[in-house]
């Protein structure tokens, strides 16, 4: 059965710290891995990683895909209180077009 696991479940840091969030997956047919930020209700799309695009960067956020380790990391440098959110990763199911979500990492950045 396809599966996505995120770690840690929660994290508390201080402004200016750098954090690394992990996402590991088990899918028979890997196509992509997506990262989202969820602050209130709706997840906001951050990155999509594929076999042909294993690194993405936007400002202080960056993400890398490790196909050998079946995992991805999301790095946030110089964290700010506005980075406080739940970070979700998802992969498409092998046999269908639906997405499997991890349980998320709840990040809290203290001023």
């Amino acid at each position: 059965e396809d599966k996505v696991v995120q770690s840690p479940l929660s994290l508390v840091v201080h402004e200016g710290d750098t954090v690394t969030l992990n996402c590991s997956y088990e899918v028979t047919n890997f196509r992509s891995l997506l990262w989202y930020k969820q602050e209130k209700k709706a997840p906001t799309f951050l990155f999509m990683l594929t076999s042909s695009g294993i690194e993405k960067k936007s400002g202080r956020l960056s993400s890398i895909l490790d196909k050998k380790e079946l995992s991805s990391i999301l790095n946030i440098t110089a964290t700010q209180t506005g980075d406080s959110a739940i970070y979700l990763c998802a992969v498409p199911d092998s046999g269908t077009y639906k997405y499997i979500f991890g349980t998320g990492t709840r990040l809290k950045v203290l001023a």
């Binding site: 196509r31 992509s32 997506l34 989202y36 209130k40 209700k41 709706a42 997840p43 906001t44 799309f45 999509m48 979700l88 998802a90 498409p92 269908t96 077009y97 639906k98 997405y99 979500f101 991890g102 349980t103 998320g104």
Partner: protein, 114 residues
């Protein structure tokens, strides 16, 4: 990217009543999905909304409780029927290409059932 609108953004409903949530995408998309997120939980897929045919429901969700329509490639509705307090959740619609590509979410509907 796709821009998705959803309404209502929130509602408080009496038990036993029904609520229909609308989802509108600004461009034609292949796939539309409906999710539920209960407090403190991750996203749970309710169903895939299929254009012109019956939705595909996940285990634990049935059409009588969550009827879904998708009359065209840009619009879908989810009805939460005969509501109970256990249906209090955030309901989210999403849209994507269906090829393992990007998936975008609507702003969500926060439903409280009293």
């Amino acid at each position: 990217s796709a821009v998705i609108s959803q309404k209502p953004s929130r509602d408080i409903c009496q038990r036993g009543t029904s609520l229909t949530i609308q989802c509108q995408v600004d461009s034609q998309v292949t796939m539309m999905f409906w999710y539920r997120q209960q407090p403190g939980q991750s996203l749970t897929l309710i169903a895939t909304a299929n254009q012109g045919s019956e939705a595909t429901y996940e285990s634990g969700f049935v059409i009588d409780k969550f009827p879904i329509s998708r009359p065209n490639l840009t619009f879908s509705t989810l009805t939460v029927s005969n509501m109970s307090p256990e249906d209090s959740s955030i309901y989210l619609c999403s849209a994507g290409t269906g090829t393992g590509g990007e998936q975008y979410f609507g702003p969500g509907t926060r439903l409280t059932v009293t």
